[in-house]
């Protein structure tokens, strides 16, 4: 372990807004989430709270707003202990945005949700209306004011949740992974919204390029402790610290990659993407695994989700599908899996997908869902991985072998008896891959595999996927990940495949920024200006 907080802390003369003294917190199950946190946040500070999944960032944020009480130590707001009246006070002045927008949108219309805070503050009807309209206009959701939250897309929900927070006109904003699961376009919208906020900002994120334009100060957490507290530029310049805390994003940057020298923002397009080419064969001599011709899918409400899809995917290929939220990527994956049935020709391993084959497709296509929690329902990792092979009614010896192979491949050896719910986000994602891989499917579909993963987990995931010698389809907004894992990229827009090219050509395309209204270079921008 290196020396904790081994860099110069910021010195401020104004009294701190938040101050914690030897703050520790233990969850009822005995898990130590925070240990001896000493932190001061001053008015006007713009702090990036960074660290890998499970390092204690969100738990600390909950202490700052009084949602959790320390097991030992103290927490102060404006030099007053966080209890009694101060709690009411802090919640009036500090807005917090949680990761999942559904947690914020508990009323039956977006308007009511945004009005909830101002009404609790005791604002009159006119003032509430003014604040709601202003907040809606700020997030560009005026037209959806009277929509029910469950009918909105994720990006719209995130913005609605943010509007609900800013309608209270807080002096301080605490944001927990504000851009998680958003497509690049929505991320840019969010970044611009936050840049306009002039108060104190605490942004929890492990994606430093996003917080770089918003924050000046970086607090790095690991294992419930503060390990560094210095300027964001200092942190980014300190490659060793970044690597040590799993925050090193330089493996993402196609312009230089090594991270050993200064990056250049204008080199965001790779000159020679490092997409892995199939080790054994070229595309021409591979048999086709999937073939769709003139394939369409229409929802019962007559909206067309897929239009005349023509694709051929060969054995051993790694194909990326990119596109804006709602472009039809997940619908296409659901059709490939046989969960949804459209019209047109669909051949799997050369056989038409009839009703009986459709029912058996689960044995041939593995799927890793965007939210790993959706596919984890067993009480132990071992049972989770065994589930698929057991459904295939394999011999006990074969199931045991597959269990061992899958856990070893995903780096989860020794996790057999662990409870999946207690794993970190990255570990859960690897468990989901192990569960799908244990069925040895010829095709593996991964929906947003890097969503919410810290750089270290992402790096490990890339290495695991590159070791899997099966056909892969990756649905992602993350260009760096695609560059590392996929040799071919399909771009979808409004249910159509508008571009089908080699990933190298796709990433080298100078029109990429404006293509499909998505800023595909977003995650590829070097943080070093």
């Amino acid at each position: 372990m290196h020396e904790l907080a081994g860099f110069t802390r910021h010195e401020q003369k104004a009294p701190p807004l938040f101050k914690t003294k030897a703050l520790s917190f233990q969850y009822p199950d005995g898990r130590q989430a925070l240990q001896g946190i000493d932190l001061a946040i001053y008015p006007g500070d713009r702090v990036a709270l960074a660290g890998v999944n499970g390092s204690g960032k969100s738990t600390l944020a909950k202490h700052l707003i009084g949602l959790l009480s320390p097991t030992s130590g103290d927490c102060f707001y404006k030099e007053r202990p966080l209890s009694g009246d101060t709690l009411t006070h802090v919640r009036r002045e500090v807005g917090i945005l949680f990761q999942d927008p559904d947690d914020h949108l508990f009323c039956n219309t977006i308007y009511d949700d945004i009005a909830f805070g101002p009404m609790n503050l005791g604002c009159g009807p006119k003032e509430v209306k003014r604040r709601v309209e202003k907040a809606l206009s700020d997030v560009d959701l005026e037209k959806l004011a009277y929509r029910q939250p469950h009918t909105l897309s994720l990006g719209q929900k995130k913005r609605a949740a943010f509007a609900a927070v800013i309608a209270m006109q807080p002096d301080v904003l605490i944001l927990d992974e504000p851009t998680a699961n958003l497509d690049p376009k929505q991320k840019v919208i969010f970044q611009k919204l936050l840049q306009r906020f002039s108060g104190t900002l605490i942004c929890i994120s492990h994606f430093l390029p996003f917080v770089h334009s918003l924050c000046k100060r970086a607090v790095v957490m690991a294992e419930g402790r503060i390990h560094h507290d210095f300027s964001l530029n200092e942190l980014i310049a300190h490659q060793e610290a970044l690597r040590e805390h799993g925050l090193d994003h330089t493996f993402r940057f196609n312009c230089c990659g090594s991270g050993d020298h200064h990056h250049h923002t204008d080199h965001s397009h790779p000159k020679s993407p490092r997409a892995p080419l199939n080790k054994k064969s070229t595309q021409h001599d591979r048999a086709s695994l999937i073939r769709m011709r003139n394939y369409s899918f229409e929802y019962p409400d007559r909206s067309q989700a897929l239009h005349t899809i023509d694709i051929t995917i060969h054995h051993g290929e790694s194909v990326a599908i990119v596109g804006e939220n709602g472009a039809g990527k997940t619908t296409l994956a659901s059709c490939l899996m046989g969960i949804l049935r459209g019209r047109g020709e669909y051949l799997f391993q050369g056989n038409p997908v009839s009703d009986s084959l459709r029912k058996r497709l689960w044995q041939h296509i593995g799927m890793v869902f965007q939210d790993s929690s959706d596919q984890i329902f067993c009480p132990s990792c071992e049972e989770e991985v065994r589930f698929g092979p057991e459904q295939m009614q394999l011999e006990k010896e074969e199931i045991k072998k597959r269990l061992e192979d899958s856990l070893r491949l995903t780096g989860l050896k020794g996790y057999e008896k662990r409870v999946p719910l207690h794993l970190s986000g990255g570990e859960r994602k690897r468990l989901a891959i192990a569960a799908a891989y244990s069925m040895l499917p010829p095709l593996l579909i991964l929906d947003e595999p890097t969503a919410n993963l810290d750089p270290e987990s992402e790096k490990l995931l890339i290495s695991i996927l590159n070791d899997l010698d099966i056909t892969k389809i990756v649905i992602s907004h993350d260009m760096s990940f695609i560059a590392h894992c996929c040799e071919r990229t399909l771009v979808m827009d409004q249910g159509r495949i508008v571009k089908d090219s080699k990933t190298a050509e796709f990433l080298g395309d100078n029109q990429l920024v404006s293509l499909n209204m998505l800023d595909y270079t977003y995650k590829n921008i070097c943080a070093h200006g």
Binding site: V94, G117, H150, D301, I339, W362, F377, P379, Q391
Partner: protein, 309 residues
């Protein structure tokens, strides 16, 4: 011991035909109710949620413009009168009145049918059980079938079962004009202003909001299970998997509840949903309310007179 006035003997094929028809109707109802939700483009993800309870609240009708407090109060009173009916004749009249209300309120037929099919299985059992279990009284007509001398169907039992079914149908139909014609939060606020406790109102509001979120989570989990080959079978493994699924759902729902409550606290929640909504009852609203209560009372009085006279 009193004797029945009449015993009718019918061929066994009639009974088989009746059961075949009954089983088909039940299967149709179950299929329509339990089928996987259809995907929709309007909601994120491959599956749609439930249809919103107040999805017709935006249209205009007599029920939509009626003061919600008076609407809730008078239609509930009307429903109590309907529950108290005894004869099939007046219960049928209540169904006709409810159908007229549904048409006036502009409730889509599909939504009405879905609600009715949800009840079909439960109500259908009355039709099977009551004719066999109602005690035979003087004047009752009994039906027997050839080759089945031990089974005696009491016509009075059939009529009683039909009366229960028609009353349930009438009330179920009235739920459309009652609940679907105002935004749900407004209906709940109307309940609150009528004295229903704040806690119950908040529970209703939050249930209505999060039922869609939980259903979306259930759909995603079911899809993930199917993607790994899970199929319902009658074995221990299926029971264990379903147990794990429900346990996981409970844990996720519990965690969600805590997060939502935290988000509410962070936005100044102190135990009551704030509201600037105010209701104004006009003369027209009072007249409509009085009409419904009088209609219910008339049905009730006529039924009593018919039943006793």
């Amino acid at each position: 011991m009193s004797l029945p006035a009449e015993t009718i003997t019918l061929p066994l094929s009639w009974l088989l035909l009746f059961f075949a028809l009954f089983a088909s109707l039940l299967a149709l109802a179950a299929r329509s109710f339990l089928s996987t939700p259809q995907p929709s483009a309007s909601t994120p993800g491959p599956y749609s949620g439930l249809a919103a309870l107040d999805h017709t609240a935006d249209t205009r009708s007599l029920f939509h413009t009626w003061d919600p407090r008076l609407k809730v109060l008078s239609l509930l009173l009307y429903c109590f009168f309907v529950v108290s009916l005894s004869s099939l004749l007046f219960a049928s009249a209540a169904v006709l009145i409810a159908l007229a209300a549904v048409i006036i309120a502009g409730i889509p037929a599909q939504a009405v049918l879905r609600r009715m099919t949800a009840m079909a299985g439960f109500l259908g059992m009355f039709l099977v059980v009551m004719p066999l279990t109602v005690p035979v009284q003087e004047g009752d007509t009994l039906i027997r079938f050839t080759h089945l001398p031990f089974f005696t169907f009491n016509v009075r039992g059939i009529l009683t079962a039909l009366a229960i079914i028609t009353k349930a149908a009438a009330i179920s139909l009235m739920m459309g004009p009652l609940v679907n014609t105002s935004p749900f939060p407004i209906t709940v606020r109307a309940l609150s202003s009528l004295g229903v406790s704040q806690k119950i109102c908040q529970m209703l509001l939050l249930t209505h909001r999060y039922i869609y979120v939980f259903q979306h989570e259930i759909n995603r989990m079911q899809t993930a299970m199917r993607a790994r080959g899970f199929m319902m079978r009658s074995n221990l493994s299926t029971i264990r998997t379903i147990g794990n699924f429900l346990g996981m759902l409970f844990v996720r729902s519990f965690e969600r509840t805590e997060r939502v409550y935290d988000a509410m606290l962070c936005r100044g929640f102190t135990g009551a949903f704030p509201s600037h909504e105010s209701f104004h009852a006009r003369g027209k609203d009072w007249i409509i309310s009085a009409s419904w209560i009088i209609l219910g009372a008339v049905l009730f009085i006529l039924d009593r007179y018919w039943y006793t006279g």
